[in-house]
Assembly symmetry: C2
Protein backbone atom coordinates (compact mmCIF):
# COMPACT_ATOMS: atom_id res chain seq x y z
CA UNK A 1 0.00 0.00 0.00
CA UNK A 2 1.18 3.47 -0.79
CA UNK A 3 0.36 6.83 0.70
CA UNK A 4 -1.14 9.62 -1.41
CA UNK A 5 2.09 11.62 -1.20
CA UNK A 6 4.07 9.05 -3.15
CA UNK A 7 1.31 7.49 -5.23
CA UNK A 8 0.73 8.71 -8.79
CA UNK A 9 -2.95 7.84 -8.58
CA UNK A 10 -3.20 9.81 -5.38
CA UNK A 11 -1.40 12.83 -6.75
CA UNK A 12 -3.15 13.02 -10.08
CA UNK A 13 -6.13 10.71 -9.73
CA UNK A 14 -6.30 7.46 -11.69
CA UNK A 15 -5.42 8.09 -15.33
CA UNK A 16 -8.44 8.26 -17.63
CA UNK A 17 -7.39 6.26 -20.70
CA UNK A 18 -9.58 8.18 -23.14
CA UNK A 19 -8.40 11.57 -21.84
CA UNK A 20 -4.83 10.37 -21.98
CA UNK A 21 -5.28 9.17 -25.57
CA UNK A 22 -6.75 12.56 -26.57
CA UNK A 23 -3.86 14.31 -24.89
CA UNK A 24 -1.24 12.14 -26.54
CA UNK A 25 -2.81 12.40 -30.01
CA UNK A 26 -3.41 16.15 -29.56
CA UNK A 27 0.19 16.67 -28.46
CA UNK A 28 1.52 14.65 -31.39
CA UNK A 29 -0.80 16.32 -33.93
CA UNK A 30 0.25 19.75 -32.70
CA UNK A 31 3.89 18.66 -32.74
CA UNK A 32 3.69 17.32 -36.30
CA UNK A 33 1.98 20.44 -37.66
CA UNK A 34 4.56 22.69 -36.01
CA UNK A 35 7.38 20.43 -37.18
CA UNK A 36 6.00 20.86 -40.69
CA UNK A 37 6.21 24.64 -40.36
CA UNK A 38 9.65 24.56 -38.84
CA UNK A 39 11.13 22.16 -41.42
CA UNK A 40 9.55 24.13 -44.26
CA UNK A 41 11.13 27.26 -42.82
CA UNK A 42 14.51 25.59 -42.35
CA UNK A 43 14.32 24.48 -45.99
CA UNK A 44 14.90 28.15 -46.84
CA UNK A 45 18.38 27.74 -45.29
CA UNK A 46 19.30 24.92 -47.70
CA UNK A 47 22.49 25.42 -49.73
CA UNK A 48 20.95 23.93 -52.90
CA UNK A 49 17.57 23.25 -54.48
CA UNK A 50 18.19 19.52 -53.98
CA UNK A 51 18.75 19.95 -50.25
CA UNK A 52 15.77 22.28 -50.08
CA UNK A 53 13.59 19.63 -51.72
CA UNK A 54 14.83 17.00 -49.27
CA UNK A 55 13.92 19.07 -46.21
CA UNK A 56 10.60 19.97 -47.83
CA UNK A 57 9.97 16.23 -48.24
CA UNK A 58 10.56 15.74 -44.53
CA UNK A 59 8.13 18.58 -43.81
CA UNK A 60 5.49 16.96 -46.03
CA UNK A 61 5.94 13.64 -44.19
CA UNK A 62 5.24 15.46 -40.90
CA UNK A 63 2.12 17.03 -42.37
CA UNK A 64 0.87 13.64 -43.55
CA UNK A 65 1.36 12.33 -40.00
CA UNK A 66 -0.62 15.29 -38.70
CA UNK A 67 -3.48 14.37 -41.06
CA UNK A 68 -3.53 10.78 -39.70
CA UNK A 69 -3.55 11.94 -36.09
CA UNK A 70 -6.26 14.54 -36.72
CA UNK A 71 -8.40 11.89 -38.40
CA UNK A 72 -8.00 9.56 -35.43
CA UNK A 73 -9.01 12.31 -33.02
CA UNK A 74 -12.10 13.01 -35.13
CA UNK A 75 -12.89 9.27 -35.23
CA UNK A 76 -12.77 9.25 -31.44
CA UNK A 77 -15.29 12.10 -31.35
CA UNK A 78 -12.67 14.56 -30.12
CA UNK A 79 -12.38 18.04 -31.65
CA UNK A 80 -8.80 18.11 -33.01
CA UNK A 81 -8.40 21.83 -32.41
CA UNK A 82 -9.42 21.45 -28.77
CA UNK A 83 -7.12 18.45 -28.31
CA UNK A 84 -4.19 20.38 -29.76
CA UNK A 85 -4.89 23.66 -27.96
CA UNK A 86 -3.09 22.93 -24.63
CA UNK A 87 0.15 22.17 -26.46
CA UNK A 88 0.31 25.13 -28.84
CA UNK A 89 1.95 27.37 -26.23
CA UNK A 90 4.72 25.03 -25.03
CA UNK A 91 5.55 23.85 -28.57
CA UNK A 92 5.59 27.39 -29.95
CA UNK A 93 7.93 28.39 -27.17
CA UNK A 94 10.18 25.40 -27.82
CA UNK A 95 10.52 26.29 -31.50
CA UNK A 96 11.04 29.98 -30.80
CA UNK A 97 13.80 29.20 -28.32
CA UNK A 98 15.46 26.76 -30.69
CA UNK A 99 15.13 28.53 -34.04
CA UNK A 100 17.89 27.14 -36.23
CA UNK A 101 20.44 29.79 -37.17
CA UNK A 102 21.82 27.88 -40.12
CA UNK A 103 21.32 24.82 -42.31
CA UNK A 104 23.32 22.42 -40.10
CA UNK A 105 21.51 23.47 -36.93
CA UNK A 106 18.25 22.81 -38.76
CA UNK A 107 19.39 19.30 -39.72
CA UNK A 108 20.56 18.47 -36.20
CA UNK A 109 17.28 19.72 -34.81
CA UNK A 110 15.28 17.68 -37.32
CA UNK A 111 17.20 14.51 -36.46
CA UNK A 112 17.86 14.88 -32.74
CA UNK A 113 14.70 16.76 -31.76
CA UNK A 114 12.28 14.61 -33.70
CA UNK A 115 14.07 11.47 -32.56
CA UNK A 116 13.76 12.41 -28.91
CA UNK A 117 10.09 13.34 -29.31
CA UNK A 118 9.37 10.09 -31.16
CA UNK A 119 11.03 7.99 -28.45
CA UNK A 120 8.98 9.76 -25.79
CA UNK A 121 5.70 9.26 -27.69
CA UNK A 122 6.50 5.57 -28.14
CA UNK A 123 7.12 5.21 -24.41
CA UNK A 124 3.72 6.73 -23.63
CA UNK A 125 1.94 4.69 -26.29
CA UNK A 126 3.18 1.49 -24.68
CA UNK A 127 0.67 2.16 -21.91
CA UNK A 128 -2.28 2.57 -24.31
CA UNK A 129 -4.58 0.32 -26.32
CA UNK A 130 -3.27 -1.64 -29.31
CA UNK A 131 -4.99 0.52 -31.88
CA UNK A 132 -3.48 3.75 -30.53
CA UNK A 133 -0.10 2.10 -30.14
CA UNK A 134 -0.11 0.91 -33.74
CA UNK A 135 -1.09 4.36 -35.00
CA UNK A 136 1.67 6.02 -32.99
CA UNK A 137 4.27 3.50 -34.13
CA UNK A 138 3.21 3.90 -37.76
CA UNK A 139 3.31 7.68 -37.60
CA UNK A 140 6.75 7.64 -36.01
CA UNK A 141 8.30 5.13 -38.37
CA UNK A 142 11.49 6.56 -39.75
CA UNK A 143 11.02 6.95 -43.47
CA UNK A 144 14.67 7.29 -44.41
CA UNK A 145 14.88 10.93 -43.43
CA UNK A 146 17.51 10.33 -40.79
CA UNK A 147 20.01 9.05 -43.33
CA UNK A 148 19.91 12.40 -45.13
CA UNK A 149 20.58 14.45 -41.99
CA UNK A 150 23.36 12.11 -40.84
CA UNK A 151 25.00 12.18 -44.27
CA UNK A 152 24.94 15.97 -44.56
CA UNK A 153 26.11 16.70 -41.00
CA UNK A 154 28.95 14.16 -41.15
CA UNK A 155 30.09 15.56 -44.51
CA UNK A 156 30.09 19.10 -43.09
CA UNK A 157 32.19 17.99 -40.10
CA UNK A 158 34.60 16.14 -42.38
CA UNK A 159 34.99 19.28 -44.48
CA UNK A 160 35.51 21.52 -41.44
CA UNK A 161 35.90 19.81 -38.04
CA UNK A 162 35.40 23.15 -36.26
CA UNK A 163 31.63 22.98 -36.84
CA UNK A 164 31.36 19.94 -34.51
CA UNK A 165 31.82 21.87 -31.22
CA UNK A 166 29.02 24.40 -31.73
CA UNK A 167 26.70 21.68 -33.08
CA UNK A 168 27.33 19.50 -29.99
CA UNK A 169 26.37 22.47 -27.78
CA UNK A 170 23.31 22.99 -29.97
CA UNK A 171 22.27 19.37 -29.41
CA UNK A 172 22.52 19.84 -25.64
CA UNK A 173 20.46 23.01 -25.84
CA UNK A 174 17.74 21.21 -27.80
CA UNK A 175 17.43 18.59 -25.07
CA UNK A 176 17.40 21.20 -22.31
CA UNK A 177 14.65 23.22 -23.96
CA UNK A 178 12.64 20.07 -24.69
CA UNK A 179 12.82 19.08 -21.00
CA UNK A 180 11.74 22.56 -19.93
CA UNK A 181 8.66 22.44 -22.12
CA UNK A 182 7.93 18.82 -21.14
CA UNK A 183 7.80 19.98 -17.51
CA UNK A 184 5.30 22.71 -18.40
CA UNK A 185 3.12 20.16 -20.17
CA UNK A 186 3.44 17.67 -17.31
CA UNK A 187 2.33 20.30 -14.80
CA UNK A 188 -0.79 21.14 -16.80
CA UNK A 189 -1.90 17.83 -18.28
CA UNK A 190 -2.53 15.56 -15.35
CA UNK A 191 -4.01 12.74 -17.42
CA UNK A 192 -0.92 12.48 -19.57
CA UNK A 193 1.39 12.78 -16.59
CA UNK A 194 -0.46 10.16 -14.60
CA UNK A 195 -0.13 7.87 -17.59
CA UNK A 196 3.61 8.36 -17.81
CA UNK A 197 4.26 7.93 -14.12
CA UNK A 198 1.54 5.48 -13.20
CA UNK A 199 0.05 3.65 -16.15
CA UNK A 200 -3.64 3.76 -17.08
CA UNK A 201 -4.61 1.48 -14.24
CA UNK A 202 -3.28 4.02 -11.75
CA UNK A 203 -1.11 1.27 -10.38
CA UNK A 204 1.10 3.85 -8.84
CA UNK A 205 4.19 5.90 -9.20
CA UNK A 206 7.19 3.75 -10.03
CA UNK A 207 10.32 5.80 -9.57
CA UNK A 208 12.52 3.01 -10.85
CA UNK A 209 10.52 2.70 -14.04
CA UNK A 210 10.72 6.46 -14.65
CA UNK A 211 14.45 6.26 -14.10
CA UNK A 212 14.71 3.44 -16.63
CA UNK A 213 12.64 5.40 -19.15
CA UNK A 214 14.87 8.47 -18.80
CA UNK A 215 17.91 6.25 -19.23
CA UNK A 216 16.45 4.76 -22.41
CA UNK A 217 15.66 8.24 -23.79
CA UNK A 218 19.11 9.55 -22.91
CA UNK A 219 20.90 6.54 -24.36
CA UNK A 220 18.99 6.84 -27.64
CA UNK A 221 19.76 10.56 -27.76
CA UNK A 222 23.48 9.89 -27.24
CA UNK A 223 23.40 7.29 -30.00
CA UNK A 224 21.84 9.83 -32.40
CA UNK A 225 24.45 12.45 -31.53
CA UNK A 226 27.19 9.85 -32.07
CA UNK A 227 25.66 8.94 -35.46
CA UNK A 228 26.05 12.60 -36.42
CA UNK A 229 29.66 12.56 -35.24
CA UNK A 230 28.86 14.78 -32.25
CA UNK A 231 29.53 14.48 -28.52
CA UNK A 232 26.41 14.44 -26.37
CA UNK B 1 7.61 37.07 -95.91
CA UNK B 2 8.79 38.82 -92.79
CA UNK B 3 11.99 40.63 -91.97
CA UNK B 4 14.22 39.55 -89.05
CA UNK B 5 13.27 42.66 -87.09
CA UNK B 6 9.63 41.61 -86.74
CA UNK B 7 9.99 37.82 -86.94
CA UNK B 8 10.13 35.78 -83.75
CA UNK B 9 12.20 33.09 -85.44
CA UNK B 10 14.61 35.72 -86.65
CA UNK B 11 14.93 37.42 -83.29
CA UNK B 12 15.33 34.32 -81.18
CA UNK B 13 15.95 31.55 -83.66
CA UNK B 14 13.37 28.82 -84.20
CA UNK B 15 12.20 27.50 -80.85
CA UNK B 16 13.78 24.20 -79.83
CA UNK B 17 10.87 22.13 -78.45
CA UNK B 18 12.99 20.07 -76.09
CA UNK B 19 14.75 23.15 -74.68
CA UNK B 20 11.41 24.88 -74.31
CA UNK B 21 9.97 21.86 -72.48
CA UNK B 22 12.95 21.80 -70.09
CA UNK B 23 12.53 25.50 -69.50
CA UNK B 24 8.82 25.26 -68.83
CA UNK B 25 9.13 22.25 -66.53
CA UNK B 26 12.15 23.81 -64.77
CA UNK B 27 10.26 27.07 -64.26
CA UNK B 28 7.21 25.26 -62.94
CA UNK B 29 9.22 22.93 -60.66
CA UNK B 30 11.07 25.91 -59.21
CA UNK B 31 7.79 27.80 -58.85
CA UNK B 32 6.08 24.93 -57.05
CA UNK B 33 8.96 24.36 -54.62
CA UNK B 34 9.09 28.06 -53.78
CA UNK B 35 5.30 28.20 -53.50
CA UNK B 36 5.57 25.36 -50.99
CA UNK B 37 8.01 27.40 -48.91
CA UNK B 38 5.96 30.54 -49.12
CA UNK B 39 2.65 28.89 -48.25
CA UNK B 40 4.27 27.01 -45.37
CA UNK B 41 5.61 30.31 -44.11
CA UNK B 42 2.28 32.07 -44.54
CA UNK B 43 0.67 29.24 -42.55
CA UNK B 44 2.45 30.75 -39.54
CA UNK B 45 0.16 33.79 -39.98
CA UNK B 46 -2.99 31.69 -39.62
CA UNK B 47 -5.46 32.77 -36.93
CA UNK B 48 -6.23 29.16 -35.88
CA UNK B 49 -4.75 25.69 -36.06
CA UNK B 50 -7.51 24.72 -38.52
CA UNK B 51 -6.57 27.55 -40.89
CA UNK B 52 -2.91 26.73 -40.42
CA UNK B 53 -3.57 23.12 -41.40
CA UNK B 54 -5.50 24.24 -44.49
CA UNK B 55 -2.67 26.43 -45.76
CA UNK B 56 -0.19 23.67 -44.93
CA UNK B 57 -2.33 21.33 -47.06
CA UNK B 58 -2.04 23.75 -49.97
CA UNK B 59 1.73 23.85 -49.45
CA UNK B 60 1.91 20.06 -49.50
CA UNK B 61 -0.08 19.98 -52.76
CA UNK B 62 2.50 22.31 -54.32
CA UNK B 63 5.31 20.06 -53.12
CA UNK B 64 3.63 17.02 -54.64
CA UNK B 65 3.41 18.90 -57.95
CA UNK B 66 7.09 19.70 -57.66
CA UNK B 67 7.84 15.99 -57.26
CA UNK B 68 5.91 15.16 -60.46
CA UNK B 69 7.68 17.87 -62.46
CA UNK B 70 11.09 16.86 -61.16
CA UNK B 71 10.39 13.24 -62.09
CA UNK B 72 9.39 14.26 -65.63
CA UNK B 73 12.58 16.30 -66.04
CA UNK B 74 14.63 13.31 -64.89
CA UNK B 75 12.69 11.05 -67.30
CA UNK B 76 13.64 13.42 -70.12
CA UNK B 77 17.30 13.08 -69.15
CA UNK B 78 17.42 16.65 -67.85
CA UNK B 79 19.08 17.47 -64.53
CA UNK B 80 16.25 19.04 -62.48
CA UNK B 81 18.60 21.32 -60.57
CA UNK B 82 20.05 22.68 -63.81
CA UNK B 83 16.59 23.14 -65.34
CA UNK B 84 15.41 25.05 -62.26
CA UNK B 85 18.55 27.15 -61.82
CA UNK B 86 17.72 30.02 -64.24
CA UNK B 87 14.45 30.69 -62.44
CA UNK B 88 15.64 30.70 -58.82
CA UNK B 89 16.69 34.37 -58.97
CA UNK B 90 13.53 35.85 -60.50
CA UNK B 91 11.20 33.74 -58.36
CA UNK B 92 13.12 34.51 -55.19
CA UNK B 93 12.91 38.20 -56.00
CA UNK B 94 9.18 37.93 -56.70
CA UNK B 95 8.53 36.32 -53.32
CA UNK B 96 10.79 38.75 -51.46
CA UNK B 97 9.01 41.72 -53.03
CA UNK B 98 5.58 40.27 -52.28
CA UNK B 99 6.07 38.82 -48.79
CA UNK B 100 2.60 38.68 -47.22
CA UNK B 101 2.32 40.98 -44.22
CA UNK B 102 -0.73 39.26 -42.78
CA UNK B 103 -2.98 36.23 -43.13
CA UNK B 104 -5.37 37.78 -45.69
CA UNK B 105 -2.53 39.01 -47.92
CA UNK B 106 -1.18 35.46 -47.87
CA UNK B 107 -4.55 34.04 -48.94
CA UNK B 108 -4.96 36.58 -51.76
CA UNK B 109 -1.45 35.82 -52.94
CA UNK B 110 -2.08 32.08 -52.86
CA UNK B 111 -5.27 32.44 -54.88
CA UNK B 112 -4.46 35.29 -57.27
CA UNK B 113 -0.75 34.67 -57.73
CA UNK B 114 -0.99 30.92 -58.25
CA UNK B 115 -4.00 31.40 -60.53
CA UNK B 116 -2.15 33.82 -62.76
CA UNK B 117 0.92 31.60 -62.92
CA UNK B 118 -1.22 28.54 -63.70
CA UNK B 119 -3.01 30.34 -66.54
CA UNK B 120 0.30 31.39 -68.00
CA UNK B 121 1.75 27.86 -67.81
CA UNK B 122 -1.34 26.46 -69.50
CA UNK B 123 -0.99 28.97 -72.33
CA UNK B 124 2.60 27.88 -72.93
CA UNK B 125 1.78 24.19 -72.66
CA UNK B 126 -0.76 24.55 -75.48
CA UNK B 127 2.20 24.87 -77.84
CA UNK B 128 3.87 21.67 -76.60
CA UNK B 129 3.45 17.93 -77.11
CA UNK B 130 0.43 16.10 -75.72
CA UNK B 131 2.32 14.37 -72.97
CA UNK B 132 3.76 17.61 -71.59
CA UNK B 133 0.43 19.35 -71.94
CA UNK B 134 -1.36 16.62 -69.98
CA UNK B 135 1.25 16.75 -67.23
CA UNK B 136 0.97 20.53 -66.96
CA UNK B 137 -2.82 20.43 -66.90
CA UNK B 138 -2.84 17.71 -64.26
CA UNK B 139 -0.36 19.55 -62.05
CA UNK B 140 -2.35 22.77 -62.33
CA UNK B 141 -5.76 21.25 -61.66
CA UNK B 142 -7.40 23.14 -58.86
CA UNK B 143 -7.84 20.75 -55.96
CA UNK B 144 -10.42 22.72 -54.06
CA UNK B 145 -7.91 25.09 -52.50
CA UNK B 146 -9.44 28.15 -54.13
CA UNK B 147 -12.72 27.70 -52.31
CA UNK B 148 -10.94 28.02 -48.97
CA UNK B 149 -9.20 31.30 -49.88
CA UNK B 150 -12.39 32.76 -51.39
CA UNK B 151 -14.41 31.79 -48.35
CA UNK B 152 -11.98 33.27 -45.83
CA UNK B 153 -11.34 36.53 -47.71
CA UNK B 154 -15.04 37.17 -48.36
CA UNK B 155 -15.83 36.50 -44.71
CA UNK B 156 -13.12 38.95 -43.61
CA UNK B 157 -14.50 41.66 -45.93
CA UNK B 158 -18.03 41.01 -44.68
CA UNK B 159 -16.80 41.39 -41.10
CA UNK B 160 -14.88 44.58 -41.86
CA UNK B 161 -15.33 46.14 -45.32
CA UNK B 162 -12.31 48.38 -44.77
CA UNK B 163 -9.93 45.47 -45.49
CA UNK B 164 -11.09 45.36 -49.15
CA UNK B 165 -9.26 48.51 -50.30
CA UNK B 166 -5.75 47.50 -49.16
CA UNK B 167 -6.29 43.94 -50.45
CA UNK B 168 -7.31 45.27 -53.89
CA UNK B 169 -4.10 47.30 -54.02
CA UNK B 170 -2.20 44.19 -52.90
CA UNK B 171 -3.70 42.24 -55.81
CA UNK B 172 -2.52 44.87 -58.28
CA UNK B 173 0.95 44.84 -56.77
CA UNK B 174 1.14 41.05 -57.14
CA UNK B 175 0.38 41.33 -60.86
CA UNK B 176 2.87 44.15 -61.33
CA UNK B 177 5.69 42.22 -59.66
CA UNK B 178 4.82 39.06 -61.58
CA UNK B 179 5.05 40.96 -64.89
CA UNK B 180 8.38 42.48 -63.88
CA UNK B 181 9.87 39.06 -63.16
CA UNK B 182 8.27 37.55 -66.29
CA UNK B 183 10.12 40.18 -68.32
CA UNK B 184 13.43 39.22 -66.70
CA UNK B 185 12.78 35.58 -67.51
CA UNK B 186 11.72 36.41 -71.09
CA UNK B 187 14.91 38.38 -71.68
CA UNK B 188 17.10 35.49 -70.55
CA UNK B 189 15.30 32.37 -71.76
CA UNK B 190 15.05 32.73 -75.50
CA UNK B 191 13.68 29.24 -76.07
CA UNK B 192 10.75 29.84 -73.77
CA UNK B 193 10.13 33.32 -75.16
CA UNK B 194 10.27 32.13 -78.78
CA UNK B 195 7.71 29.50 -77.84
CA UNK B 196 5.34 32.06 -76.33
CA UNK B 197 5.61 34.54 -79.17
CA UNK B 198 6.18 32.25 -82.12
CA UNK B 199 5.20 28.65 -81.42
CA UNK B 200 7.58 25.70 -81.68
CA UNK B 201 7.55 25.79 -85.47
CA UNK B 202 9.02 29.31 -85.44
CA UNK B 203 6.05 30.36 -87.50
CA UNK B 204 6.63 33.91 -86.49
CA UNK B 205 5.72 36.63 -84.11
CA UNK B 206 1.97 37.12 -83.93
CA UNK B 207 1.23 40.37 -82.17
CA UNK B 208 -2.52 39.77 -82.29
CA UNK B 209 -2.16 36.38 -80.63
CA UNK B 210 -0.01 37.81 -77.86
CA UNK B 211 -2.60 40.53 -77.35
CA UNK B 212 -5.33 37.91 -77.10
CA UNK B 213 -3.30 35.88 -74.61
CA UNK B 214 -2.73 38.92 -72.38
CA UNK B 215 -6.45 39.69 -72.57
CA UNK B 216 -7.28 36.13 -71.50
CA UNK B 217 -4.82 36.32 -68.58
CA UNK B 218 -6.14 39.73 -67.49
CA UNK B 219 -9.77 38.66 -67.73
CA UNK B 220 -9.13 35.56 -65.64
CA UNK B 221 -7.26 37.65 -63.07
CA UNK B 222 -10.18 40.11 -62.84
CA UNK B 223 -12.58 37.21 -62.39
CA UNK B 224 -10.49 35.87 -59.49
CA UNK B 225 -10.36 39.29 -57.83
CA UNK B 226 -14.14 39.59 -58.23
CA UNK B 227 -14.59 36.13 -56.69
CA UNK B 228 -12.72 37.43 -53.64
CA UNK B 229 -14.97 40.49 -53.56
CA UNK B 230 -12.12 42.79 -54.65
CA UNK B 231 -11.76 45.35 -57.45
CA UNK B 232 -8.99 44.57 -59.92
Amino acid sequence: MSTPATDGAGLFGPADPSAAVSDLLGLMACGELMAFERLAHDATLAPSMEDKAELARMAVAEFNHFVLLRARLADLGVDPGAAMAPFVGPLTEFHQRTAAGNWLEGLVKAFVGDGLAADFYREIAEHLDHSTRDLVRGVLDDTGHSAFAVDRVRAAIAADPRVAGPLALWGRRLVGEALTQAQHVAAEREGLTALVIGGVDGSGFDLNEIGRMLTRLTDAHSARMAALGLES
